[in-house]
């Protein structure tokens, strides 16, 4: 289990340096853990699991500067997931308490199959056309940012800025989705 922390932390550090491949691996690994984490706690609403996974991944990405690399990355990510889960219950007016668990348990991976996130699609649909195409076209293997930008009719530099803005807008819209 501490192996997972070592691995995640190393990948995240490389990601912070701009290594997109390492960063992708880090997020994918984290996504599996998040799915297991939420699924265990939301047996009543399995349909919301993938939404929360996606919302949390967006938050992890946009808030990554608040991780103090002297501390455990898993503990940090667990705290983000926990916050998103409690916030989800609060918005849905679900009365539920979440015991303070050790973040080691957070590492346990018995993840169900990934589902489909509906809220992200809804948020995506409310974005301007150019940003929307950009977010759904850009692939690490496949369409590069430059190519995806060209398809949206903008330069690579503009695509970079537009993608970042789009991700921020998505996070904000998903959070407000069920107000």
């Amino acid at each position: 289990m501490t192996d997972t922390e070592t691995r995640l932390k190393a990948l995240m550090l490389r990601g912070l340096d701009g290594d997109a491949v390492a960063y992708r691996e880090c997020l994918a690994l984290l996504g599996v853990r998040l799915r297991a984490y939420f699924a265990r706690r939301m047996s009543g609403a399995p349909g919301d699991v993938e939404d929360l996974v996606q919302e949390t991944l967006l938050a992890v990405h946009l808030k990554r500067s608040t991780w103090d690399s002297a501390q455990s990355f898993t503990a940090w990510a667990h705290a983000v997931a926990r916050y998103k889960l409690i916030d989800h219950w609060r918005r849905r007016k679900i009365r539920q308490t979440l015991p303070i668990e050790d973040h080691i348990e957070f590492l346990a991976a018995d993840a169900p199959e990934p589902g489909v996130g509906l809220e992200l699609d809804r948020a995506l649909a409310s974005l301007p056309e150019k940003q929307r195409t950009l977010v759904s076209d850009v692939k690490l293997t496949g369409l590069s940012l430059a190519e995806a930008g060209a398809r949206a009719g903008i330069s690579e530099g503009a695509a970079k800025v537009a993608l970042h803005r789009a991700l921020k807008a998505l996070a904000e819209r998903m959070r407000r989705a069920d107000g």
């Binding site: 992708r24 997020l27 994918a28 991944l57 503990a75 940090w76 977010v135 590069s144």
Partner: protein
């Protein structure tokens, strides 16, 4: 959208600046907050006329030291509370110790004064009715800026984080207020300066409760 596709989009954004660290952003908030309080003092309250003379005495520096340390305690608290699961315990301990120490010293000064009337003069000074309010007003720009900045971070305890931003802003505001306020007794500072700073923290907690969600 499949989560894998989202991860692709996030990874493509890996090279985007992850944003300055909370430390750097909060330091900027402190600097801009002090500047806006200074501009407010100069345009609205004016500097105390005997500032140069006061700066050669010890009471001026005791006031500045007390309020400055309260602001520092707020910074120490929010630097942790702006991150997930941060508690800010060290900042709160420092603030509590400072408040207790100052209130104790103020009480001793008032209780050892010659007669009740003198004690009352110590408590009221010349500006007891405006001091706390002025400090809170001087802190407002920094409080707003700080809450906005922390909203972009990841606080998981919005009320506490708001209070810490308020303590930070109140401490800085009160420190700048020393450039205007001619009061020179510990009793006065321990009551009205403390109340102004605690008021700013309370306001921060109130606003933080709904403003610091993400």
């Amino acid at each position: 959208m499949r989560t894998d596709d989202l991860i692709d989009a996030l990874a493509s954004d890996a090279a985007s600046a992850s944003g300055a660290t909370p430390r750097r952003r909060l330091a900027l908030v402190g600097g801009l907050g002090a500047l806006s309080a200074l501009l407010l003092v100069m345009s609205w309250l004016h500097l105390r006329h005997d500032l140069m003379q006061a700066m050669s005495g010890s009471m001026f520096w005791m006031k500045v030291g007390y309020t400055g340390l309260l602001g520092l305690a707020g910074y120490v608290a929010i630097e942790r509370l702006a991150r997930p699961a941060g508690s800010g315990r060290r900042g709160w301990t420092l603030a509590g110790a400072l408040l207790a120490l100052c209130l104790l010293a103020g009480a001793i000064q008032a209780l050892t004064s010659a007669d009740p009337r003198e004690a009352l003069t110590l408590v009221r000074g010349h500006s007891w009715n405006v001091c706390s309010r002025n400090i809170m007003i001087l802190s407002l720009p920094m409080l707003a800026l700080g809450l906005w900045a922390v909203r972009g971070m990841a606080p998981t305890r919005p009320v506490l984080a708001g209070a810490a931003v308020g303590l930070f802003a109140g401490g800085v505001g009160a420190t700048v207020y020393c450039l205007h306020c001619p009061e020179h007794t510990i009793t006065f500072v321990s009551l009205w300066y403390s109340l102004g700073v605690v008021g700013a923290a309370g306001l921060g907690a109130l606003v933080g409760r709904w403003a610091l969600r993400w």
